[in-house]
Symmetry: C2
Subunit: 405 residues, 2 copies
């Protein structure tokens, strides 16, 4: 596929749910997502694939290949977006997947295994949180809580699935068992600018970071902001300020760690009262679990030291602790061969964000290919990947699929 | 007065509005405040003073002296308290004033000028914010906004004054003109622990700090907490954290400056989103205006530097900028002579908090005497000043009043 063709396809999909600001708003399980899915389905049909929605509204196009009963190789991503999102998050993976099939068809390739293109519904969770809905339904099944959750309009997930022609009654059971998929590859924009800095159009994902979510509180003594001399204070916010900077410093000094205090609030929060309490959240991620453990230990040590020195009390409670998701060596090897075959430099990048591939990893060997995106911006109308880079990604994907199928 | 007598008086007043935790709750313009005022009035009458409430509910006891038409020397404080406050904030000044009159009577002293003991209503503002109500009404008059303000129960200040037997219609005009008062002295617990550290029962206030209140915002770029590498962030909270520590450092390095970030909040405040905005307040006080100006300039320079370095934007808007209130050299000289006469060390301490004396300074030369309090604690049930220290303060006050009247 040529870059100008890719540019036209990006524009065609970008017109669906287009916003005045140049972005798109296509929440999952809405007519706007369905319009984009229908456009993808038409392309699948044009490519000679069997195309069908499953019981929760995921779309899958299948190229049966020489051994239709073999475990398939799947690729894909999603076409829903956040509110005022961009044209590339999700869509890049779907368009590259279909362009890769088009390339393989044009090259006269016939796969041994079935080759499937998946378009997962509701990855972003912008109508119904928390996202990854379609892949979760396939791999894990949906819980009663997940099916009963409702968005702002009061409609439940179950009803939205039914209204989209699905069968929410079947959604509790997983549809894919371990071993049912030979390999899964997801192409996605990087949402960071490591590739831009490296001058590389694509990068092979080294792993999907495992998040640790914690919440904490620093306690001191609320006191009179005018009467209390500086040396006699136990200011909880000053303690938290030290911790926030230590969190930043710890992650910055490490290789792949990212750490964020996203929520922070001083109490009682009055201008003329020294904060007696400061609450905060911690989001700590790494593709390398031991590096994340080291960072956690370092942050706890800083909290201990500063609260002791300042006469404060500190607590940090872990709410969720997910392991990093490993990419499969054989899938990565296929991507490496493909990158080399395309004449590109081999660049490895971690994925800090969660993706459908993370869920698919429960039941299949996975790999991911990131596409360079401008300024690392995503979830905004400024999101951008060049048509040349998307063509390069689609070419690498086609080469990897040719090996794996 | 002996220490055991003072202890009994403290206990008698402390029983009015006593709380289970050992403190008191006596909001201004309530029956509880009035019960304490009535007890003070009885003591005034016992001391042979004329005792009367004014149009807003302040109580004044007057010892006419040899020249009843001369401008009086006044002393006093308040008997209202914050919710779950202590027995000493305000009450110490009233009890020491009445004990001083008792001492002067016992010594056979006859003042030339009238000697008045004032008990100002609603200093704390715990029923009706923002406090200093009684002294403000006397010296400045109350605005329509102040008279129309209502507390949690919907009752306005005007109605509460009327219900207490006052005349809210007369409250708009100031009752005291400049020159109408020869001198005003307020005794108050220190609400800090400089005197405790110095081992001194009392200290002469060197000035009342002028507060500067500001609010600010640091703006960065909200982004994905997982996908955005540490080096590519513009984290508004990290910027604010640096500022909070700089505020603390700046004030700590100065002599009399205190500075507090009392309110701080990250936005959007989600654990998995890098804060794009952080709002904060700044409370900066100094008895020395040029030192406060230097601190303000230093804090602004830090904000400029860190926002430039971090790719953030910072704003700091001053909402209120009050000058420090000077104490009068002649009143201070009288207090110094009194301290020396009592055989005590001369210790000078700044007042970080606002007091009725600050308002009285509009129309009269003022001075303040601080009493040592345990651990610097105030506005809590743990608030404590020893009866010995209160007797010492009352003795110093009696000596100063003898000179000034």
């Amino acid at each position: 596929m040529r870059a100008d063709e890719m540019q036209q396809i990006v524009a065609d999909f970008g017109a669906i749910g287009a916003t005045a600001s140049g972005g798109v708003t296509r929440p999952g399980l809405t007519d706007l997502e369905r319009a984009a899915l229908e456009r993808a389905r038409a392309w699948m049909v044009h490519l000679g694939m069997d195309a069908a929605y499953d019981h929760v509204g995921n779309l899958r196009g299948t190229w049966a290949g020489a051994r239709p009963d073999a475990a398939p190789v799947l690729t894909g991503s999603h076409l829903d977006s956040v509110v005022e999102g961009g044209r590339y998050d999700g869509a890049a993976g779907v368009l590259c997947a279909l362009a890769a099939v088009e390339t393989l068809r044009a090259q006269g390739h016939t796969p041994e295994r079935p080759l499937g293109v998946c378009v997962f519904t509701s990855e972003e969770g912008s109508r119904f949180g928390p996202g990854l809905l379609g892949s979760t339904a396939l791999v894990r099944g949906l819980t009663a809580d997940q099916l009963g959750a409702s968005g702002d309009d009061g409609v439940t997930v179950a009803r939205a699935i039914a209204e989209a022609g699905g069968d929410p009654g079947a959604a509790a059971a997983p549809a894919l068992a371990p071993g049912a998929v030979h390999a899964f590859i997801e192409v996605h924009i990087e949402q960071a600018s490591r590739l831009e800095e490296a001058g590389a159009p694509v990068g092979i994902v080294s792993g999907i970071a495992g998040p640790l979510f914690a919440r904490g509180v620093v306690t001191g003594v609320a006191d009179h902001a005018g009467a209390t001399p500086m040396g006699q204070r136990a200011d909880a916010l000053c303690g938290l300020a030290e911790l926030v900077l230590a969190v930043e410093r710890t992650a910055s000094a490490a290789d792949t760690t990212v750490a964020t205090v996203g929520s922070a609030r001083a109490h009682p929060g009055q201008a003329n009262i020294i904060p007696g309490r400061a609450e905060f959240s911690l989001d700590l991620r790494d593709v390398d679990l031991s590096a994340r453990d080291r960072a956690e230990a370092e942050i706890r040590a800083v909290l201990d030291e500063l609260t002791r020195r300042r006469g404060l009390h500190g607590e940090l409670e872990v709410i969720q602790r997910e392991p990093p998701v490993a990419v499969d060596p054989q899938v990565v090897a296929a991507l490496e061969t493909a990158v080399a075959g395309a004449g590109l430099d081999l660049v490895r990048v971690p994925s800090g964000a969660a993706h459908d591939a993370m869920i698919m990893a429960d039941i299949a060997p996975i790999g991911m290919l990131f596409v360079r995106c401008r300024g690392g911006l995503s979830h905004c109308p400024q999101e951008y990947a060049s048509p040349e880079d998307l063509v390069a990604a689609s070419d690498v994907l086609a080469r990897a699929l040719a090996q794996l199928t």
